[in-house]
């Protein structure tokens, strides 16, 4: 890989950092995965890379998922996980709910099959299109949609009711 090509991938450094931090919520883990992401990228045969941004997000997501799986495998007991999320500028209630939702989703993602988790993160957190995800995973977009659907189904079934969207809860109550 030439200097210019390496420079071109380093242009996405901030994107990679945000992807990792968002998923991991831990500066040390984010730093470690950041390094692994770029080392992995610069060792690739770059001749066929059309979209470095998507590729880097995919690598970063894979590395972050590795860390999440290891993190929660060590903790083992799901309910014992602490959620020491800092409070920021959002109203306290919303931020607390968001923090709890994020942490719970991280834990659930760590239990999903690898590709389901990757596809879900890239689609619904990193906002890539199914076509972009399919290109990175080597799958047709329709297959990507199936993976995302399965991931969502698992999340819906595993998330505590209290973390479901209010409108959904209201609808369910009405149905009952």
């Amino acid at each position: 890989m030439s200097d210019d090509e390496t420079d071109s991938i380093l242009r996405h450094a901030d994107d990679v950092w945000r992807t990792l931090y968002r998923l991991l919520n831990d500066p040390d883990d984010a730093r470690e995965c950041y390094q692994q992401t770029f080392l992995e990228a610069i060792k690739l045969d770059d001749s066929g890379v059309a979209d470095w941004r998507a590729l880097l997000k995919r690598i970063a997501t894979c590395r972050a998922m590795d860390v999440l799986r290891e993190r929660y495998r060590r903790k083992q007991v799901f309910s014992d996980v602490d959620v020491p999320e800092p409070l920021f500028e959002l109203p306290p209630e919303s931020e607390l709910e968001f923090a709890e939702l994020r942490e719970t989703v991280r834990q659930l993602l760590a239990t999903l099959p690898d590709r389901q988790a990757e596809a879900f993160v890239l689609r619904h957190i990193e906002q890539l299109t199914p076509a972009e995800i399919g290109e990175q995973l080597g799958l047709p977009p329709s297959h990507v949609r199936v993976l995302i659907h399965r991931a969502l189904k698992s999340l819906r079934q595993s998330l505590p009711k209290s973390l479901h969207p209010i409108s959904t809860l209201a609808q369910e109550n009405a149905d009952e």
């Binding site: 200097d3 968002r22 040390d28 730093r31 470690e32 080392l39 659907h149 189904k153 819906r156």
Partner: protein, 364 residues
């Protein structure tokens, strides 16, 4: 119904993750090694130290083995080594040494046809012959260099290696102008200082043929020639002996294969790319007379070494970079800088490297 729920849930999750405050990427995060926890991720210890050990080993091997015939210089017993030293010390300095030196030099010049102007007999001077008893080591003139050589000698002696005279490797003296008598005497004094304790026996004066941007009239420039074909073997021997274990090959394999490392192949991309010439530029700096060294290692092929250096530096968290006319300079906190330019691997403090590169830009 479930599809609608899923869409709302997905949107809720998106909002939750995007509401999270994310700190700015740390400014010193090049490739993200964890500075606070060296046991995590790739750190300087895991990557840079082995790389540095190998590179220093290379430089020392260049400086120590005149013909790279290290098979003749295997580790000897202390008694044998001491006996030889005693024997050498008991022999008075006479012209008898000259043929050996000339033979060595002749071999080196023959093996390096592309280096600077081959010296003629008239350009060769034996310090000890021309200046018997009047040359005193000038410790101030080559302090850092002498310290380095002393350290190497000490290291070698402790490991029962037979130290070879540094002077046998020093076959060229380059500077912008033909030296005056005063300058020549100064040079001799410097070389004697450098050569302690091995002693410098001869100097060859040669007109500079290196790139103009590497020349600086105010500096003393020393040129080493070596046979690069045996350098890897010599470096292996030196490093293994230094650490008392077969470390060289595992270290090179680790640098090449470790998934967390830079994955550079020094056997393929470094050793074969060395051209057999090393320039050492020494100057005095500032009112204190502090000396600064600039190493310029001649390469046969820039590109693989440039990529190798880049990959290694990207793994190091404390490196900053700057560009001078398309040349990337990797700076280790203002103390040591490395770059590859016009067929040379430059190693020095950042100011000297930048000065050289600016001269290069002006020349271009």
């Amino acid at each position: 119904m479930n599809e609608q729920h899923d869409n709302e849930l997905a949107e809720q999750i998106r909002r939750a993750f995007h509401a999270q405050e994310i700190p700015d990427r740390p400014a010193n995060l090049t490739l993200g090694a964890n500075e606070n926890n060296p046991s995590r991720g790739v750190t300087g210890f895991e990557v840079l130290v082995p790389m540095t050990v190998v590179l220093i080993g290379v430089l020392i091997a260049i400086a120590i083995w005149p013909e790279n015939n290290s098979a003749d210089r295997s580790i000897e017993s202390e008694s044998t080594y001491q006996a030889e030293l005693d024997s050498e010390q008991s022999v008075p300095e006479t012209n008898e040494r000259t043929p050996m030196i000339d033979e060595t030099r002749s071999m080196m010049v023959d093996s390096q046809p592309t280096t600077a102007v081959p010296p003629s007999e008239s350009e060769t001077t034996s310090i000890e012959e021309e200046n018997p008893g009047m040359v005193e080591p000038d410790a101030s003139l080559a302090g850092p260099l002498r310290k380095t050589i002393d350290l190497v000698n000490q290291c070698l002696s402790e490991r029962h290696w037979r130290p070879e005279p540094l002077a046998d490797r020093l076959v060229g003296f380059l500077r912008g102008d033909e030296p005056t008598e005063v300058q020549r005497e100064e040079l001799f004094r410097a070389l004697v200082a450098v050569g302690v304790p091995q002693g410098v026996k001869s100097v060859e004066l040669a007109r500079p043929e290196v790139e103009p941007w590497l020349q600086e009239p105010s500096r003393l420039m020393f040129q080493y020639r070596y046979n690069p074909s045996g350098l890897e073997a010599d470096t292996r021997k030196f490093i293994n002996a230094l650490f008392g274990a077969d470390l060289f090959d595992p270290v090179l394999n680790g640098i090449r294969e470790d998934r967390d490392g830079p994955r550079v192949d020094l056997r393929k991309d470094f050793f074969p790319k060395l051209a057999g010439q090393l320039l050492l530029s020494v100057d005095r700096h500032g009112s204190s007379g502090e000396e600064r060294l600039l190493l310029a290692i001649r390469l046969t092929d820039d590109a693989p070494v440039r990529i190798l250096v880049r990959k290694a530096m990207l793994s190091e968290p404390n490196v900053s970079t700057q560009k001078v006319n398309e040349v990337t300079v990797y700076d280790f906190g203002g103390t040591v800088a490395v770059c590859v330019a016009d067929g040379y691997l430059l190693v020095s403090d950042v100011k000297l490297v930048l000065e050289a590169l600016r001269r290069r830009s002006d020349n271009h």
